[in-house]
Point group: C2
Chain length 461, copies 2
Amino acid sequence: MSASWWRWAAAIVPALVLYFTPSGLPVETRHLLAIFAGTIIALISRPMPMGTSVVIGMVLLVLTGTLTATRALAGFSSPTAWMIFSAFLFARAVSATGFGPRVAYLLIHRIGHNTLSLGYALAATNLVLAPFIPSDTGRGGGVVFPVARSLALALGDPPRTSAYLILVGYLSTYTTSGMFLTSMAANPIVADMARQVGKLEITFLTWALAAIVPGLLTLAGGTYITLRMTNPETGGVKAARTMAAAKLAELGGLSGREVRLVLILLAVMTGWVSSPWHGVHNAFVALAGLSALVVASVVTWDELLGEARAWDALLWFGPILMMTDELAKAGVFDVLAASVAGWTAGMPWPVAGAALATGYLYIHYAFASMTAQATALFAGFLSTGIAAGCPPLMLALILGAFSSLNAGITHYGTGSATVFFGAGFVPQSQWWRVGFVVSLWTLTCWLGIGPLWFRLIGIWP
Amino acid sequence: MSASWWRWAAAIVPALVLYFTPSGLPVETRHLLAIFAGTIIALISRPMPMGTSVVIGMVLLVLTGTLTATRALAGFSSPTAWMIFSAFLFARAVSATGFGPRVAYLLIHRIGHNTLSLGYALAATNLVLAPFIPSDTGRGGGVVFPVARSLALALGDPPRTSAYLILVGYLSTYTTSGMFLTSMAANPIVADMARQVGKLEITFLTWALAAIVPGLLTLAGGTYITLRMTNPETGGVKAARTMAAAKLAELGGLSGREVRLVLILLAVMTGWVSSPWHGVHNAFVALAGLSALVVASVVTWDELLGEARAWDALLWFGPILMMTDELAKAGVFDVLAASVAGWTAGMPWPVAGAALATGYLYIHYAFASMTAQATALFAGFLSTGIAAGCPPLMLALILGAFSSLNAGITHYGTGSATVFFGAGFVPQSQWWRVGFVVSLWTLTCWLGIGPLWFRLIGIWP
């Protein structure tokens, strides 16, 4: 602990200053803001595991008399928190059944005709699994990375091809994280903040519909850019398909458990997409799916209880959701928006919006966690943009997607980066160079082409 | 699953009948009651792990449109649920540090001068640990049983002495479960139901203060009764104390981690007891203690996330708390009380109260779980008793204590019974005989002597 005193100090000192310095805000709001700020800084400076900091923040809110016990715990009854909880259990079911690698090898076998389409097969794997695996470490690090590495080794580890496969594996991991409400743990938090800051309802359907066009363009173009920049050795693709066939033979036929898994996940997806018609909250579609997985013995109750990442997410999300909700109720976001409105005064909203989104993307050079950035900055950037006249839902969805897409620019931007980069197939300079060029393409897809699509489907009214 | 179709049917058929049969209740209330009834029966017939049944019940409430998503999840933000969650983590810390066995061997070494006082040492171990270990399986099965067995073996396993030690170990396990708000997982649920049914506030202090006199009498007298009924062989106590000394030497000095644990637990206890003065909710005293345990590295964040029993309790409690809360809001308990008021008409309240408490104790012959009985019957028995004119707080505390004390009459009445009985030191006939005689003493302590104490401290106003 002694070596990390500055990590504590970084969170505690500003919190204390905010807590005790009189400002225009009512005392309780000031205390709330101080403890929130300290918590958020602790998520970045990390004196403790992130969940611990969040729980301590929640406890302090009650010990200081800022909130009552019931209000402080309110986040744990947010459907948002339980939606992401359920998604973590879907991820568990997918990995426990071996369904993830099966999808990957099936796609490689079917569409892997050349180096480019091998990359597409990796991207398609991520795309198929994304709605059900909200952890980029679980999906990218746990499913796609092992497949990409096996592919590279099956091809004889030609250095440029290996770099290509690893980079595409990573690119498609974080890009698909940005494409669904349930494909990244912080996405539901983002949706919740959008509700609090801008009274916006972002369901599974809204997010998926908005992201499908710019997301697929990012994936396709990003893969192609990576191909051009890594310039893989030619030949050897046949070996990859042979390996895929061998792996599929090894996996054998679909087990009854896998069949039940697939049927339940399809039903869940149908339930999510059809929510405007039946009206059941997305979170309860997910919880119904979760119950079905247990009743159908796809996952056991003990596996569910042992899924530490799901519990971590719950302990994390509950207090954060509560804090942002309380801040919104206290009008802090309005005050914030009003106070920064001057910065964008006289700017046409498209310029302000593009500047905010671009800034939001590149500020991630300073972050080691997508969730930490989204938690710390999303609400502020969104309020500012809305104050500058941007169409709220469109900006919220772009910033929401960028909460994941920003991970591509560094080799430490999210958990799965550690896995992909750590394997040593790609030098750091190349990683950053490709990441930067892909980020330019990302901006083109989401700020250039995206708005046309958003206009078409009514998200830009 | 095929073999247990009747377990499903037992829960589903009555639920369907209640759901679709028009009654005097409003439709939504009837649906709520039907799903609640099905859930409770499933806790007893056990087609699935108990937590699964409860989660399914919660999901059905939303899918049927009976409750909104937010209301259905409300139980997860109940301080009650998080109090018990924290207590499970305290239990984890106690077991991880080896502090539990140390207490036991210390007590044996200090006060174990004869067979009777060896029993008291086991009882005192349970008493010291009870406020922090809400699982009788964890405390009785995990700490006290191994010590009792080691003692029996150290004495050369004389059959009557072994039976005595095992029976006292079990007796003191379930008795101390009934003595603190935090010594049994369902106690906070009981307190919550008491709030909903009778507008009663039962804090840690209320419960402990009420239970201390009748609880200690039950322990002391019960141990003595067990001694007389098992008639242990004389001699050999010196071997027990020698073994305790050896075990203590083996454990070595208190580790820094244990010291920090003890200091934090003492602080938590102080915080609970002093709650009328500082006003911080018991649950947040517990959560602050939990945070302190993590910050002081007594338990790690990963250990916390891996504590499956704590998560099980949370998933369990949340929906049950929500359902009873909704039933109370809908006035179901009032209707229930009014409809059974006839049964006790003309009965003086002490007779009605004693009959209800006695019935509540012995009905546990039909239950394999203390929590299942408390969840299913506590609110009904309490409403009935209040309608019959019993002092509400006194009856609530007696029924609350009996929710644990009822476990003594069988060898399957709670989780730890399986451990103590399963070890094979005590024949079933003896187990039941001792259990029955001790239960008569229990009734004497709580219904005969207890009320005098309750009168003295104002619980019987």
